[in-house]
């Protein structure tokens, strides 16, 4: 009888081990200031997971199952609770997320590092993340704002603007980007008339705009969020006739802004991570087929973030959290066969055969030792009610 029980137990264990699929957390702000962007970000990440599952090649035919959590983008407490749930209750192998820089840092410090869980953020862009003491657990597929600040400075200078007022959302993302932009713009001979923070979630930004207008600048750079304070600042600027020429950063690039503001936004310049490489185009076609808006901000980055997790697990040959961490940089960078978007099946097979791969993905991923992407930026201009790509930086 004892033996029978032991055999039965062994059998069920073996069966459950064979059946156990890999769960991956998708931790982005389904509510909060970028909630109009996040459904698409999550869908892009889940597209990569589905591709791996459908290939049948992932760890001998296992599935990759996304588990969603709400980072809220701004509420560190809520984000940590959601991450805690993913890690301890859902037992995810790794987390695709979080999205905004502040909550990403909070979740990394308080949940990911203590539990040894890898996080790959598609959109946390604060320069502070580069030097964060994350024990090598936090990666990101979006480039740091240290770089976006330089690109923005070039864009602003390229438009012949010598003096500009800056307003940023009062958090890690806004402050980091405003600082890096100010340094870069001063380095190319520009002048920051005033850099002032704004709080999200106010009904009225007339006072903030009054201060910015009093600085004497004619152009306003808005480093905020498309569904919150950033939109309010632009509306109040137009209402008071204070500014009608805007420079926007990645958090402001969204169709909902054009819908809310309308024609007055025409001519505004913006930057957001992205490229026009063959891989980017290939991803957009694949995304379109799956009903995902590949051109929207951070969709490509999210796809790559999820793909890296899946490929690292395959390279490690296990769903162990530490094993995944050890392989992320290896699959992301050379040497190895280049794997583009939509080629996860090929990548998984090569890894299963013990060969090396260099995942390129939708954003031509190259990760630095600190886990940062050294990606490219798109410069947009609002034309005929759309964010039209001007060039790639």
């Amino acid at each position: 009888m004892k033996r029978l029980l032991a055999v039965a137990a062994a059998l069920t264990m073996a069966a459950s081990a064979a059946q156990a699929d890999m769960k991956v957390g998708v931790l982005v702000g389904f509510t909060g200031p970028i909630e109009s962007l996040t459904p698409n970000i999550a869908a892009a990440a889940e597209l990569a997971m589905k591709e791996a599952t459908d290939s049948g090649a992932f760890l001998g035919g296992k599935k990759v199952i996304p588990v969603r959590g709400d980072s809220t983008c701004v509420d560190a407490g809520a984000a940590q609770a959601a991450a805690e749930r993913l890690v301890t209750s859902d037992k995810v192998a790794a987390i695709m997320g979080a999205d905004c820089s502040g909550v990403t840092i909070a979740v990394a410090n308080n949940v990911a590092v203590p539990n040894g869980v890898v996080m790959v953020s598609p959109s946390a862009t604060s320069p502070a993340i580069t030097t964060l003491k994350d024990k090598g657990l936090l990666f990101r597929t979006a480039p740091s704002d240290a770089r976006q600040g330089e690109v923005l400075a070039q864009v602003v200078k390229g438009r012949g603007i010598k003096q500009i007022a800056v307003t940023y959302t009062n958090n890690d993302y806004g402050k980091g980007l405003a600082d890096s932009f100010a340094n870069a713009f001063k380095a190319v001979g520009g002048k920051i008339a005033l850099a002032a923070a704004h709080e999200d979630g106010k009904a009225d930004y007339a006072a903030e705009v009054g201060a910015l207008a009093a600085s004497g600048a004619e152009h306003l750079a808005v480093f905020g969020y498309v569904d919150k304070g950033g939109k309010g600042i632009i509306q109040a600027s137009l209402d008071a006739g204070a500014f009608d020429k805007f420079i926007l950063a990645d958090g402001m690039v969204g169709e909902s802004l054009i819908k809310a503001i309308g024609k007055a936004l025409e001519g505004a310049a913006a930057t957001a991570p992205g490229s026009d490489s063959p891989n980017a185009k290939k991803f957009q076609e694949a995304a379109k087929k799956a009903g995902v808006k590949g051109q929207d901000p951070f969709a490509a980055e999210a796809y790559d973030a999820a793909a890296l997790i899946v490929l690292a697990a395959q390279a490690a040959g296990s769903m162990d959290r530490a094993a995944i961490q050890a392989k992320i940089l290896a699959v992301a960078n050379a040497p190895g066969e280049k794997i583009g978007p939509g080629e996860l099946a090929k990548g998984l097979k090569l890894l299963a055969e013990g060969k090396a791969i260099d995942y390129q993905g939708a954003t031509d991923v190259v990760l630095t030792d600190a886990g940062d992407a050294s990606g490219s930026y798109k410069e947009y201009e609002v034309k005929d009610g759309k964010f039209a790509t001007v060039r790639i930086h």
């Binding site: 509510t31 909630e35 005033l194 002032a196 923070a197 709080e199 979630g201 106010k202 009904a203 009225d204 007339a206 006072a207 903030e208 009054g210 201060a211 207008a213 009093a214 600085s215 004497g216 569904d227 919150k228 939109k231 309010g232 509306q235 209402d239 008071a240 006739g241 204070a242 009608d244 809310a260």
Partner: protein, 338 residues
């Protein structure tokens, strides 16, 4: 030099005077409701801000329905047509709150503090209901012509380097506020019911002895306070934007306005509303550009000349409250002592 003075005046009008008049009218309407409830029902009603949100929400839903039917007012916002819906909803909510919560304590003659704390509970419930019905996000419901005077057109017509912008919602706010206040004063001074309300406020027992029906006074008070709340809330939402929780943030400036003016004094609530609005905006406005126009060149400032950062806007209300309570607790118009 002369043109500089005009420019300076236009600048100040655009960034301080016009916004403060609109904001002051909204605060005054809200403070009137608070002061009425305090004067007659004798407690500080903390649910007033969310009563505003509730009325505004109903007005927004009405506006959307009208827009869906293709009914509009042309240049004026459709919300004006939906305002009666908002008022009706706010009155219904206030009466329901009175029936279920406030009456219980009133009948027992509970201390005013107990009623005030109960109103905090009502506030949370109303806020939750609003968020469940319309969601926590920013809702836009303004339509019609946005500007009466557009800053850019103003510049090209007058040739000045400063623009003046006057929005339809700002003028509408002032007009509706004047009309509402005039109607309220007429009602309180001239009608039998209004006189009964004042008598009840003055001395409850004497009023009861002279045959004033208390239930009717309570009903009227809630109806008037809720109507004012719905009007103020809808105007605020039209002028700025509607988010359920911003009305909670209005509570402090509204109470400051009611107390500065002298709580229980309708005239004081109006004066207080404008005082708070002008202080908030004038103290946080940077005068750099203004001084550039009026001062000779060698005296022009380099800094922003801003007394308080805009982040501290709310603290202006706090400061006014503290100062008034310390030095003149009865307020400008000799109201009651809280």
């Amino acid at each position: 030099m002369d043109i500089d003075i005009v420019n300076a005046a236009v600048l100040l009008a655009n960034f301080v005077v016009v916004p403060a008049i609109a904001y002051g009218s909204q605060l005054a309407l809200g403070a009137l409701g608070i002061t009425l409830v305090y004067g007659i029902l004798r407690f500080a009603n903390f649910s007033h801000g969310d009563l505003m949100a509730f009325g505004t929400m109903a007005a927004i839903l009405g506006t959307w329905q009208l827009q869906a039917w293709g009914i509009g007012l042309g240049l004026l916002p459709t919300a004006l047509l939906a305002l009666p819906v908002g008022i009706a909803a706010a009155v219904a909510a206030a009466l329901a709150a009175d029936r279920t919560v406030f009456r219980f304590y009133r009948v027992r003659r509970s201390a005013p503090m107990v009623l005030s704390i109960a109103s905090v509970g009502v506030m949370f419930v109303l806020n939750g209901v609003v968020r469940v019905i319309v969601g926590p996000d920013d809702r836009s419901f303004s339509d019609g012509a946005r500007y009466l005077i557009n800053a850019r057109e103003f510049k090209s017509v007058t040739g000045l380097s400063e623009g003046l912008s006057v929005r339809t919602s700002q003028v509408l706010t002032l007009a509706l506020a004047v009309a509402a206040v005039a109607a309220l004063f007429w009602f309180l001074q001239r009608t039998r019911a209004g006189k009964a309300m004042r008598a009840y406020s003055d001395n409850e027992d004497l009023a009861l002895l002279s045959g004033v029906e208390p239930d009717r006074v309570v009903l009227l008070t809630w109806a008037i306070a809720a109507s004012l709340a719905a009007i103020a809330g809808t105007l605020y939402g039209l002028d700025k934007s509607f988010q359920p929780f911003t009305y909670l943030q209005l509570l402090l400036p509204m109470f400051a306005a009611a107390i500065v003016g002298g709580i229980g004094q309708p005239m004081g609530a109006i004066a207080g509303g404008f005082l708070v609005a002008f202080s908030e905006i004038a103290l946080t406005y940077p005068y750099k550009k203004f001084l550039r126009y009026v001062l000779p060149e060698d005296m022009q400032p380099d800094g922003l000349v801003q007394l308080l950062s805009t982040d501290y806007k709310l603290s202006v209300s706090f400061a006014i409250l503290v100062v008034v309570l310390l030095w003149r607790p009865t307020g400008l118009f000799r109201g009651r002592v809280l």
